[in-house]
Each structure stands twice: as structure tokens, then as C-alpha cells.
């Protein structure tokens, strides 16, 4: 059974699907660190907020999944710009502790506000691809998982194109190299910060609307996601988008095989173990990209 090629192929397929989900969830976090050098501790809560916004838009407004998802991502972009304006912009020159504390505070506020609004009972949100299953030579592929993979590919390609081909994207890349130089050539760093916050939150929102239909919705669902995203971003080299995408994929595969051939605890702990090993072996190298001269 353990060496059955179909079983191993199934584990690999599951791993890729889950891993691209991790990569999608971590993308916004990696972007914010890469461009601004800031850690957004509310990232998981933005993901959670998007899932509840999707529930609200489909159940209360009665919108179809596609429209609700688009509305949610747009709302999250606005929320991200607001978060950047309130927490990050005033603290751009004050080191990173105020931003960490500020985003932690926002995380707590969002979590409890959602708990007070929607209650603690797990909710469920339906998506059109949920029931679809594709059988490829005995390996089962699930519709919503494939939708997550597609969302990642679209998000990653879209982000890369945005950073390369738009003026604001080029300004963001410039800011990741030197904020002082940006100020000198007349780039509005506050505007770039708001854009980065908006994009980061929109990516968290996209992850939320794509992944949430797979699980129950509850107010602290973001904690688990942010835990995995931190591991992915640290393993991949913080601020390195391609690195965290690969690390997400690797983590998904490692978890899938650990869970399939080992145990559930091994599966859940392997990301943390990999993160610790990485930190012990390459403590400085991981953050090398972000050090400003």
C-alpha cells in the first residue's frame, strides 16, 4: 500500500494542491516584507475577514460565488490601503516594532469584531467547483483545490506583471531597494505604501475566497494560516516572492507525504520544524535581501 504508485501520485497531487494554497496565502505577506520591510501580523485575519465577507456576500446579499469573490477582493484591497495608511505610513521611519504591535492590535480587533458579529459557530460557504472531482488514472483531483491552484497562478503572474510593467509597480520595486533614493527622485513613498498594503490585502482576500470553501469558517481560522505563511516566508527567504512560492509548494508536498506515510501531528509540525532548522542553519542569510544600507 505504501509503495503503491497511485497512492504516492495521489499524495503528490494533494501536496501540490495544498502547497500552492500555502504559496497563495503567503504571497501578500512576502510582498509586504519585500517592499516595505514590515511584517503584517494581521495577514491571517485579513484572510479570515475575506472568508466571512464572502459568506456575507453569498448568503446575505445572495450574490453568485464569482461576483461575491470579486467584490470581496475589491473590498479587501480597500481595507489593506486603509490598514497601511493607519498603521504603516505613520511608522515608516520608526523601526518595525510599532508596526508589529499595530498589526497585532488590528488582528485582535478583527478577530473579536467578527466573533461578535457572526458568533463562534463554524459557518460554511459553498463554491461552484466544490463537488467536482476529476479522475486522472486513479488519482483524484478536487475542483475547489484546482481552483486554488488556478488562483495562485493568476495571482503570481498578475503580481509579477504588475511589478514589472506598471509605474506604481516599478516604484514598489524601487522602494524595496532604497526608500531614501525613492524620496530623492520624487516617488511618493506614502502612496506606494498604500498600494503595497492594498495589493497585500487583496492577495490575502483572494486566498480567503479561494481556500475558505474547503474548510469551516470560524473567527480564529486566520491563526493557522498565518502560522503556515510565516514558516513559508521564512523558509523561502523573507521578501523573496519566488522563494516563498517554492517554499509553499515544498511545505505542501512535505505535509502531504508526512500525513500520508506518517501521522497527523507530524504533518502539522513539519513546517515549524523546517523553519527552525532553516533558522539554525542560515540565521542571517534568510533576511539578507531586506537589509538596507
Amino acid at each position: 500500500m505504501l509503495t503503491d504508485p497511485v497512492f504516492l501520485a495521489q499524495l503528490a497531487a494533494n501536496g501540490v494542491a495544498v502547497g500552492l494554497g500555502y504559496a497563495l496565502a503567503a504571497l501578500g505577506l512576502a510582498l509586504l516584507f519585500g517592499i516595505l520591510g514590515q511584517v503584517n501580523f494581521a495577514h491571517g485575519e485579513l484572510y479570515m475577514l475575506a472568508a466571512f465577507a464572502l459568506y456575507w456576500a453569498t448568503q446575505r446579499l445572495g450574490l453568485p460565488y464569482g461576483a461575491a469573490a470579486a467584490l470581496t477582493v475589491a473590498l479587501m484591497a480597500g481595507a489593506g490601503a486603509a490598514l497601511a495608511q493607519v498603521v504603516i505610513v505613520p511608522n515608516l521611519d520608526r523601526g518595525f516594532e510599532p508596526v508589529i504591535l499595530g498589526t497585532l492590535a488590528v488582528a485582535v480587533i478583527l478577530q473579536n469584531a467578527v466573533r461578535l458579529t457572526f458568533g463562534a459557530t463554524p459557518l460554511d460557504v459553498a463554491a461552484p467547483f466544490e463537488g467536482v472531482t476529476v479522475d486522472v488514472g486513479g488519482v483524484l483531483l478536487f475542483g475547489q483545490r484546482l481552483a486554488v491552484c488556478a488562483a495562485f497562478v493568476v495571482a503570481y503572474a498578475g503580481l509579477a506583471a504588475f511589478l514589472r510593467f506598471t509605474a506604481i509597480g516599478r516604484a514598489m520595486r524601487a522602494m524595496s531597494q532604497s526608500r531614501d533614493a525613492c524620496v530623492m527622485v520624487g516617488i511618493d513613498v506614502r502612496r506606494v505604501t498604500r498600494w503595497t498594503g492594498a495589493l497585500g490585502a487583496a492577495l490575502a482576500g483572494l486566498a480567503g475566497v479561494a481556500i475558505a470553501p474547503l474548510f469551516d469558517l470560524y473567527p480564529n481560522m486566520g491563526t493557522e494560516v498565518v502560522f503556515k505563511s510565516f514558516a513559508v516566508v521564512i523558509i523561502g527567504g523573507m521578501g523573496n516572492l519566488a522563494g516563498s512560492a517554492l517554499a509553499g509548494l515544498a511545505l505542501g508536498l512535505a505535509e502531504s507525504f508526512a500525513g500520508g506515510l506518517g501521522s497527523a501531528v507530524l504533518r502539522d509540525g513539519i513546517g515549524f520544524a523546517a523553519m527552525i532548522v532553516m533558522l539554525l542553519l542560515r540565521p542571517q542569510g534568510l533576511f539578507g535581501r531586506s537589509v538596507r544600507v
Binding site: 516584507f33 511584517v39 501580523f41 493607519v86 498603521v87 505613520p90 511608522n91 521611519d93 520608526r94 523601526g95 518595525f96 516594532e97 510599532p98 508589529i100 504591535l101 499595530g102 497585532l104 492590535a105 488590528v106 488582528a107 485582535v108 480587533i109 478577530q111 473579536n112 469584531a113 466573533r115 461578535l116 491563526t223 502560522f227 510565516f230 514558516a231 521564512i234 523573507m238 497527523a264 501531528v265 502539522d268 509540525g269 515549524f272 523553519m275 527552525i276 533558522l279 539554525l280 540565521p283 542571517q284 534568510l286 533576511f287 531586506s290
Partner: protein, 313 residues
């Protein structure tokens, strides 16, 4: 002299007030306040004096609580030995978390301390043979300390008060020592401290271990007092509350976090606020501090480094 005496008398009177009032409810809050004083002082050593934004305090607290519960329930250990081993478990956890996290940049330090806490919560939830998972461990027997059973709310209050006073005293002695001065020097200017021959890594690791011991002690006392624990003891809400207590009280001072712990344990009880609303309000308070007291925050947290980087007014 007379002023010191007046303050001492006032402190003793205030400390004995809950007993004089005799209300079981007031005593209950007072006992829990003692635990929070210990926890706030544990975070204060690392955050206030060490300048390290650690989110690992609930990890130490939870380890202490589980160590006490397991030793008392499974092995029938007596209170004194259990508390000692729980504190040692806190030391071990402090070193285990501090060793990788103190070697990395200050961003990843925060992430690693948070992740380590979440990992321990994961273990508590999943290692069901030992922890009974989310069911938690119930009916933890009352402890005997040096042969004396701890009974009744008055007894518990005296124990909580004594433990809190001991931790404050130890913190006072440690901070005034050569080690404490090295810790503060490393906070204020790491490069200068290194140049002066201070082993910054080892100093911070020691602070982490000590912080682990006191928070684990609070966890063990909490487990004995409440007689029931579940993986929620590792929850982030503990970190949140402690950050408010320490930062608003005055991090890097001896009595500030004590005052913060007293006020922010008693206030929500007196106002009878639901836990969700309390957490929400704490979040808003924390956000307001960051937004409107950033200079103070920078002084508390970053020392000279942040001041040097501050923009011209």
C-alpha cells in the same frame, strides 16, 4: 525614609485589603491578579529591560500549567517538587525557544516566538495520550507546599501574593545586578555593548530562561488554582493582555507592570465585560498606543536606535 516607610505601609495595607474585605469574589480576582503580576514581570524582563518583543510568554505559562497538571494528576507529585520542576521546564523552554530565535533578526525573532507558542498549542491539542487534547486536564488536586496544604481562598491569596512579591523582588535584584545592566546596555546599543565585551546572546538567553521560569511558575499555580487546563492556556490573548499591562504600565520599570497587571485584571472584572468585548477593547487600546504614543513606544522599545532614526519634527 519616612516616605519609603509610608509607601511600604500603603503597599502592605493594599495587599491585605482583599482579605479584610472577605468577599470570595474579590479574593478570586486578587489571586488571579497575583498570577498576572508574575506574568507581566516575566514579559517585562524580556521586553522592558531586554528590548525584545517576545510573544513566547504564553508558551512558558502553558508549559508550566501542563507540567504541574501532568505531574500532579499522573504521578501524584507533591506541590513543592511540582512547582520546582514546572519552573525548570520553563527554563528549558526559554532556552529552547531563545536559542534559535535570539540568533536571527529582530523581525524573525517575533515570528519565531509566536510560532513556537502556536506549535506548543498544537502539541497540547494533538498529543492526546498525555494532554487529553482539547478536552483538557481536569480535577487537578490541591497542592501541599512543604507539607502545608493550600486551602481556601485566603490561603491561595497569601500564596499568590507571596509568589508575586518574590518575583518582583528577584526582578529587582536581577535588574540591579551586573547581568541586568548588561541586558539594558544591549537593549540601548547592541554594538556598543558588544564592543564593551558583553556577550549579548548569552545575556539575552539568560533573560529568556529567567522569564521562562517565572511565567511557568505562574502557569503551575494557575493550573492548581483553577484545577482545570486546556490548550487555551497557550492562547495569544494572554500575550495581548500582557503587552497592554507592560506597555501601558511602563515597560522597563519595576512597578509599572505591577500596576498595569492590577489595573487590567481588576478593571474588566469590575466593569463586568464579556471576554470578546474585553479583547476587542484591548486591541483598540494597543492600536491607540502605537498611533498616538509612538515616541513613548520608541523610547520603551527601541531606545536610542529608534530615536536616532526619528524624522525631524
Amino acid at each position: 525614609m519616612s516616605r519609603t516607610r509610608a509607601i511600604t505601609i500603603a503597599a502592605v495595607v493594599a495587599a491585605l485589603m482583599p482579605i479584610a474585605l472577605g468577599s470570595p469574589y474579590v479574593l478570586h480576582i486578587a489571586i488571579v491578579t497575583g498570577f498576572y503580576v508574575i506574568l507581566a514581570q516575566s514579559l517585562n524582563l524580556v521586553l522592558g529591560y531586554g528590548g525584545l518583543l517576545s510573544l513566547a510568554t504564553p508558551a512558558f505559562f502553558g508549559i508550566g500549567a501542563y507540567a504541574a497538571a501532568i505531574l500532579a494528576l499522573r504521578f501524584g507529585w507533591d506541590g513543592t517538587a511540582t512547582l520546582a520542576v514546572a519552573a525548570l521546564a520553563g527554563v528549558a523552554t526559554g532556552i529552547a525557544i531563545g536559542f534559535p530565535s535570539l540568533r536571527v533578526s529582530r523581525h524573525s525573532f517575533v515570528i519565531v516566538t509566536l510560532s513556537a507558542t502556536l506549535l506548543l498549542q498544537l502539541v497540547a491539542n494533538n498529543w492526546e495520550d498525555v494532554t487529553r487534547g482539547s478536552l483538557g486536564l481536569a480535577n487537578i488536586p490541591a497542592p501541599r507546599l512543604l507539607g502545608v496544604p493550600v486551602e481556601g481562598r485566603t490561603g491561595w491569596y497569601l500564596l499568590s501574593l507571596a509568589a508575586a512579591a518574590a518575583v518582583v523582588l528577584v526582578t529587582h535584584r536581577v535588574v540591579g545586578s551586573r547581568f541586568g545592566r548588561a541586558l539594558v546596555a544591549a537593549r540601548d546599543n547592541e554594538q556598543l555593548a558588544l564592543a564593551a565585551g558583553i556577550d549579548v546572546f548569552r545575556t539575552r538567553l539568560f533573560a529568556f530562561a529567567l522569564s521562562g521560569a517565572s511565567a511557568a511558575l505562574a502557569g503551575a499555580l494557575y493550573a492548581y488554582f483553577i484545577t482545570y487546563i486546556d490548550p487555551g492556556v497557550f492562547g495569544f490573548s494572554v500575550s495581548e493582555t500582557l503587552l497592554i499591562m507592560v506597555i501601558l504600565g511602563g515597560s522597563g520599570t519595576l512597578w509599572g507592570p505591577v500596576a498595569g497587571a492590577v489595573v487590567f485584571t481588576a478593571l474588566p472584572e469590575l466593569l463586568r465585560i464579556a471576554p470578546e468585548v474585553r479583547s476587542l477593547l484591548y486591541g483598540i487600546i494597543l492600536l491607540l498606543i502605537v498611533l498616538y504614543r509612538p515616541a513613548g513606544l520608541a523610547t520603551w522599545l527601541g531606545g536610542r536606535r529608534s530615536v536616532a532614526q526619528a524624522p525631524p519634527a
